[in-house]
């Protein structure tokens, strides 16, 4: 008897959690569709858009650069060590290039953007919600979706692919410095091998992933910010949830896009 009721309770909990998950996915999808519909209807706020380009793009450069250079460098060491077991040390430039451009560049930049941009968007908008600034915007005939969400999402869409491109290049350079400095590769040959091996599709996939991750990061920040509960706790929870959601979605989207681009 006890076992039966325990199992019932367990199943009910799973059911409730599953329903809750679908409900929140539904709300996120509705939010995304509403954002898209607002992109094309005036009024537009070019000044806010420009400001966000700067915030999301330019100010993220240092963290993107540092992440990429260290990752590229570590990657070169590991590939060299791993390759040495098969007498294949020479593949370092090719594998570093493919690894950075296809996967690590976009994923690491995406996660860094989730940490840096999603959190700050969520905290800012949640604070605005808690202090009635969103209500004030509405009463001043300004739609928060148009004034806050659209500029952030569009700016991320434009600027994160560029960040990913920069991250790819810096990551490859990180591998290059380690390979030429520590592992005895010839500098010119290393660059030549990298350039020969990379295909145009690799680069396109990298940038497409960047665009997708940028949109996810900005959208999650805005969504959870606007959903925030009241009080300082509400802001904290909104920020945390937005970063977790953005990170998980970025990794899931990365897998999906890799399947689309490379599995055929």
């Amino acid at each position: 008897m006890i076992l039966v009721s325990w199992i019932n309770g367990f199943l009910a909990a799973i059911g409730a959690a599953t329903l809750g998950m679908f409900a929140s996915i539904g709300r996120v999808v509705i939010f995304a569709l509403s954002t898209i519909s607002h992109i094309f209807r005036p009024p537009f706020y070019p000044k806010e858009f420009a400001q966000q380009l700067l915030h999301i793009g330019y100010f993220s450069l240092p963290v993107v650069g540092l992440t990429a250079v260290f990752t590229g460098a570590a990657l070169a060491l590991q590939i060299y060590a791993g390759g040495a077991r098969f007498n294949a040390e020479a593949v370092v430039p090719q594998i570093v290039a493919v690894g950075m451009v296809r996967e690590l560049g976009p994923v690491l930049v995406g996660l860094m953007i989730a940490a840096r941009v999603t959190s700050s968007i969520a905290a800012e908008i949640a604070t605005m919600k808690v202090t009635e600034q969103l209500d004030a915007l509405t009463t001043l005939s300004t739609n928060p979706m148009k004034y806050l969400t659209v500029p952030r999402v569009l700016a991320a869409l434009c600027v994160v692919p560029i960040l990913v491109g920069i991250g790819d290049i810096i990551g490859i350079m990180g591998g290059y410095f380690v390979a030429t400095g520590r592992l005895g590769f010839n500098a010119a040959a290393y660059l030549q091998n990298t350039a020969d091996f990379l295909e145009i599709m690799d680069i396109i996939s990298s940038l497409v992933k960047g665009a997708a991750f940028g949109v996810i990061a900005a959208l999650m920040g805005c969504y959870y910010g606007m959903q925030s509960d009241r009080g300082a706790q509400g802001v904290g929870k909104a920020t945390k949830t937005s970063v977790v959601a953005a990170s998980v979605l970025i990794l899931a989207a990365n897998y999906t896009l890799t399947e689309l681009f490379f599995s055929a």
Partner: protein, 248 residues
């Protein structure tokens, strides 16, 4: 002008508004009084459409407030929020001139700034605060910037949520006069929430008292003292004993 009928709103099982009826004529100044947490702010937000009521009707100028063009509807309103609700990413003058810098009322930057500084002067703030940010102002100053923002575009209907809370008595007097002036000069319709009885006497044409989710008493200001309403009586005299339970 504004008609509220049988308005209900609950948050979960907290029934805040339980059948509120209220009507305000054009050019009238209505003051809403009532204990803390009785839903005065919620009532204003329902009229503005910031909170969706559970049931009841709200009409403004004979039109259903929940239907039709939201932008045109909200363009008639100015609202001072209880907490100020200033945009902290914008400077003080940009806050005040927010509506004058975009939309159909768009002015040039210098004109908008001039209007903002003039409105700031009317709420007793000097032009040197114009370029500061809201976080650098005192609570009472923030409130007055919020007031300046609410009146900047000279709306026909203005809601003031506790305009004088946190101000010194002299500044309260200035703000009371200002609200009275706006109603008389511009002919605006005003709805003010306040706990300050001197404000009530200075501003109100009509008074409504909210308690237990509905309007317990409403009438012109000169009948306030002779209402024989036990709720109003207890409130005006600030007694702990009476129909309003003070300790819950």
């Amino acid at each position: 002008m504004i008609n509220v009928e049988n308005l209900h709103k609950a948050f979960g099982d907290n029934h805040v508004l339980n059948g509120v009826d209220m009507s305000i004529g054009k050019g009238e100044s209505m003051v809403i009084i009532g204990g803390s947490g009785t839903g005065k702010s919620v009532l204003l937000k329902c009229i503005l459409g910031l909170i969706t009521p559970d049931s009841g009707t709200i009409t403004v100028n004979g039109k259903d407030a929940t239907k039709g063009d939201r932008d045109a509807f909200l363009a008639q309103f100015g609202m001072l929020f209880q907490g100020g609700a200033l945009f902290d990413s914008l400077s003080v003058w940009q806050n005040v001139a927010f509506r004058l810098q975009r939309g159909p009322l768009k002015l040039s930057k210098t004109d908008a700034r001039d209007v903002a500084i003039e409105k700031l002067r009317r709420v007793g703030l000097k032009s040197d605060v114009a370029d500061r940010f809201p976080a650098e102002l005192s609570g009472g100053m923030q409130k007055r910037v919020g007031l300046a923002r609410a009146i900047a575009a000279e709306p026909q209907i203005i809601f003031f949520d506790e305009p004088t809370t946190g101000l010194d008595p002299i500044m309260s007097g200035v703000i009371n006069d200002l609200i009275r002036e706006i109603v008389v000069e511009i002919g605006a319709t005003a709805m003010t929430i306040t706990h300050d009885m001197s404000s009530v006497r200075a501003i109100a044409d009509k008074v409504a008292m909210l308690h237990d989710g509905s309007v317990q008493w409403t009438g012109p200001i000169d009948q306030l003292e002779h209402s024989n309403n036990p709720y109003l009586d207890q409130f005006l005299n600030g007694r702990a004993e009476g129909p309003i339970e003070a300790v819950r």
